[in-house]
C-alpha cells in the first residue's frame, strides 16, 4: 500500500474520531436537557402535590365564601333593589314624620365615585327634608339600621327660626343629607367550580358560615327616642312672663308630649268606634272614647287653668295637636248623638270628673267640664237612667258654682277675739263682726271658733280655716 493511502487512512480515522466526538458532545447536551426536564418535572410534581394538599382547605374556604356571598347580597342592593331603596326612603319619611321635599340622584363623578371593585357601584342620593331633631334622629336611625347598607357621608342642618317654631309649635329644621349605598352586581366570570358533596360539606361548615356572616353584618345603633330631651336646635329661652309657670321648658314640653300621646290614643279609639264591626264593639269603643275624652279634657282644663304651659313652642303645639283635635272630636261626638243627648257613659264620666275637680278644690274646672255638656243635658228627658245622672251632675254644678262664688268673695280676716263670758268678735274686711252678722248680702257669720269661721252662704254652711 502506498504511503499516501496510509496517510489517507490516518486522516480518515482522525475525521471519524472528530465526528464521533461531536456526536458525544451533542449526546451529552441532550442528556443534560433531559435531566433538566426531569428535574423540572420533579419540581412541578412536588409543587402540584403541595398545591393539591391544600385543596380540602380551599374547598372549605370557597364553600364558606359562596355562602357569605348571600349575606353580601342582603347587605347591598342590586340594580332592581335601587327602586326599593327609594321606596324605603318614602317609608322612612312616614315612620319618622319628616317631610322630604327633594330627592336627587347624584351623578357618579360628583359623588366622587370610589373605584373599589368592578362588582360594587356607588349610588348616591341627596335628600332635602324638614324635621325636628328627634325626627331627624328617627330618620337617620331607620337609614343606618336598615338591612341594606346605607351610608350618610355628610349632612347639613339649618335650624328653623324662633318665630316659625313658635307659630308652628314644632321645629321644621332644613336638612340636606347625602345618602349612599353600593349596588352589588357581580360581573360574569368563570362559573362556580363544581364541588363534590357540596351540601354535606356545607352542613359541616355552618358554624363558620354563621360567624363570617355575622362579621359582615353592619353594626347598628339602638336609638331610644327623645327621652324627654329638648331639641338643641330650638332656642330654649322663654319670655319674661314665663316665670309665672314655675315649670322649666323641658317640663312644659313633657306635659305637652304626654297630652299629645293621649290625644293620639283618643283618635285611635275614635277610629275604632267609627269602624266597629258590630253593635257590641261600637258600644265598647264608645265607652272607651267617652272615658278617654273626659280624662283628656280634665287634664287640659287643669293645664290651661293653672297656666302651666307658657313656653310659646309648647303652647302652639298644645293648641294644634291637642286642643284643636279634642274640640273637634267633642263636636263630632255631639253630632253623633243626633238629638238624643249624651250617653249614660258620657254622663257618668262627666259626673266623676266633676267630683274629682271638686275634691281637688278646682271648682271652676268642674264648672268648665259641665259647660261642655250643658246645652245637651235637656235632651235626656224621658230616659230615667240618664235623668238620674243629669240630676247628680246639676247638683255638682250648683255645688261648684256655690264654692266658686264663695271663693271669689273678698273675705279679709285680720283677727279674732274670743273671751270667756263674751260673744266672740272677728275683724273681717276692716269691720268687727260677731255671730249672726252679715258680711255681705248673701254671707252671714254663723260661728266663730279659734282657727275657723262658719259662714252661711246661700243657705249652705261653709267653713273657712285660717
Amino acid at each position: 500500500m502506498s504511503r499516501r493511502w496510509w496517510i489517507g487512512l490516518v486522516g480518515g480515522g482522525c475525521l471519524a474520531a472528530a465526528g464521533t466526538g461531536v456526536l458525544i458532545y451533542f449526546a451529552h447536551g441532550s442528556i443534560a436537557e433531559a435531566r433538566a426536564e426531569v428535574s423540572d418535572l420533579q419540581g412541578r410534581i412536588q409543587a402540584a402535590r403541595k398545591q393539591i394538599a391544600g385543596t380540602n382547605d380551599l374547598e372549605r374556604e370557597v364553600i364558606v365564601l359562596r355562602e357569605t356571598e348571600e349575606a353580601i347580597k342582603e347587605i347591598l342592593p342590586d340594580e332592581r333593589d335601587i327602586n326599593n331603596f327609594v321606596r324605603d326612603m318614602r317609608r322612612f319619611e312616614d315612620d319618622a314624620s319628616v317631610r322630604i321635599t327633594a330627592l336627587k340622584k347624584k351623578p357618579q363623578e360628583a359623588a366622587n365615585r370610589k373605584k373599589t371593585s368592578e362588582d360594587f357601584d356607588k349610588v348616591a342620593y341627596q335628600l332635602t327634608f324638614d324635621a325636628d331633631a328627634f325626627q331627624l334622629l328617627a330618620f337617620l336611625d331607620r337609614l343606618e339600621s336598615h338591612s341594606r347598607f346605607m351610608l350618610v357621608p355628610s349632612f347639613k342642618l339649618s335650624a328653623a327660626s324662633r318665630r316659625s317654631v313658635e307659630e308652628a309649635g314644632q321645629a321644621a329644621h332644613k336638612v340636606q343629607m347625602d345618602v349612599e349605598t353600593y349596588v352589588y352586581e357581580p360581573h360574569a366570570g368563570a362559573p362556580p367550580v363544581k364541588i363534590d358533596g357540596y351540601a354535606r360539606k356545607r352542613e359541616l361548615l355552618l358554624g363558620e358560615i354563621t360567624r363570617r356572616r355575622q362579621a359582615l353584618s353592619v353594626e347598628a345603633y339602638s336609638y331610644g327616642g327623645p327621652r324627654g330631651r329638648r331639641d338643641p336646635w330650638v332656642d330654649p329661652r322663654v319670655p319674661v312672663q314665663s316665670e309665672e309657670s314655675g315649670l322649666s321648658v323641658p317640663e312644659q314640653q313633657q306635659i305637652v308630649d304626654e297630652l299629645v300621646t293621649l290625644t293620639r290614643e283618643l283618635l285611635a279609639t275614635r277610629d275604632r268606634w267609627l269602624g266597629a264591626a258590630n253593635v257590641v264593639d261600637e258600644m265598647v269603643a264608645r265607652a272607651d272614647l267617652e272615658n278617654l275624652l273626659a280624662g283628656l279634657e280634665e287634664n287640659l282644663r287643669r293645664v290651661e287653668g293653672e297656666g302651666l304651659i307658657r313656653y310659646k313652642v309648647a303652647q302652639s303645639r298644645l293648641q294644634q295637636e291637642v286642643v284643636g283635635p279634642v274640640a273637634e272630636l267633642r263636636r263630632k261626638v255631639a253630632e253623633q248623638e243626633s238629638g238624643n243627648g249624651p250617653s249614660i257613659e258620657a254622663l257618668r264620666e262627666l259626673h266623676d270628673t266633676m267630683v274629682r275637680h271638686l275634691a281637688s278644690g278646682e271648682h271652676d274646672l268642674a264648672l268648665s267640664a259641665c259647660a261642655t255638656f250643658e246645652s245637651r243635658l235637656d235632651y235626656v228627658r224621658g230616659d230615667p237612667a240618664r235623668e238620674t245622672w243629669v240630676t247628680k251632675i246639676r247638683r255638682r254644678r250648683d255645688e261648684a258654682q256655690l264654692l266658686s262664688d264663695f271663693s271669689r268673695m273678698k273675705i279679709d280676716i285680720r283677727g279674732v277675739a274670743i273671751m270667756e263670758g263674751r260673744p266672740p268678735v272677728i275683724l273681717i274686711n276692716g269691720r268687727a263682726l260677731g255671730e249672726g252678722d252679715l258680711v255681705d248680702n248673701e254671707l252671714m257669720i254663723r260661728g266663730i271658733r279659734a282657727g275657723e269661721i262658719e259662714f252661711v252662704f246661700r243657705g249652705v254652711v261653709l267653713v273657712r280655716r285660717f
Partner: protein, 222 residues
Amino acid sequence: MIRINLLPDEYRRRNRTSFKLVLAVAAMATFNGMLLAWLSWLHFGVAGEVGSERSVLQTELDGLTPQVTYNKALDAERKRHSARESVLAEITKSRISWTRKVDELITVIHAGGGPEHQRHHVWLDDLIVQQTPDPRSKSAGSVRASGHNGSDRFDQIANFLDDLEHSPFIEDFLAPAPPEGSQTLVDKELIPPVVWAFPLALSLKPPEERLQKQAAVKEAKR
C-alpha cells in the same frame, strides 16, 4: 490471486509499510472504537435511562394535572369572593353611625340643665357634618356648628366643651379647640337675656384610629 514479491531483499524493505504508520493506524482505530463505545453508552444507556425517568414523571404529572386544575379553579373563585368580601368590609367599617353621634350630642347639650343648673345652657343654629371617604385625605371629616349659650357667664362654654370631652360622643373625634366666643345682642324680653355665641368645630379621628378604638372597646366588653 497470490502476489509474489520477487524483488531482492534490499529492495523489498524499502516497499514495506512503516511500523510507526501501522501503529498510528492501529491507535486511531482503537481510539475511534472507544469513542463509538462511549457514544453508544451515552445514547443507549444514560439517555435512555433519563428518557424513561422523564416519561414516568410526565405520566405522574399528567395524573396530577386535573387535581391541580381543580385546585386553581377553586383558588380563582376564592380570590374573587375574598376581594368582594374585603371591599365590603372596607366600606362598612369606615361608616360612622351619625344616629349615635347626634344622639350623644343632644344628650350632652340636654344634660347642661339650663340656666337654673348653672352648668351650661347651649343651643345650636346649625350642624354641618362631613365625612371624607378618601383614606389619603388629610382630614377624615369634621363636625361644625354655631352654638349659643344662654348666660352672661362665658365660662359655661368651657363647661360645655368639658362635658363634650368627657362624653362618649368624643370617642370618634379629636379634642375640640379651646373655648372662645362673643356676647351677642341682649334681649331683656327673654330669659336669660344675655347670650354668648361660640363656634363648635370637631375633627374626626383617622379611620384606623377609630377602628383600633372600636376593637379595643369590643375587647374590653368581652
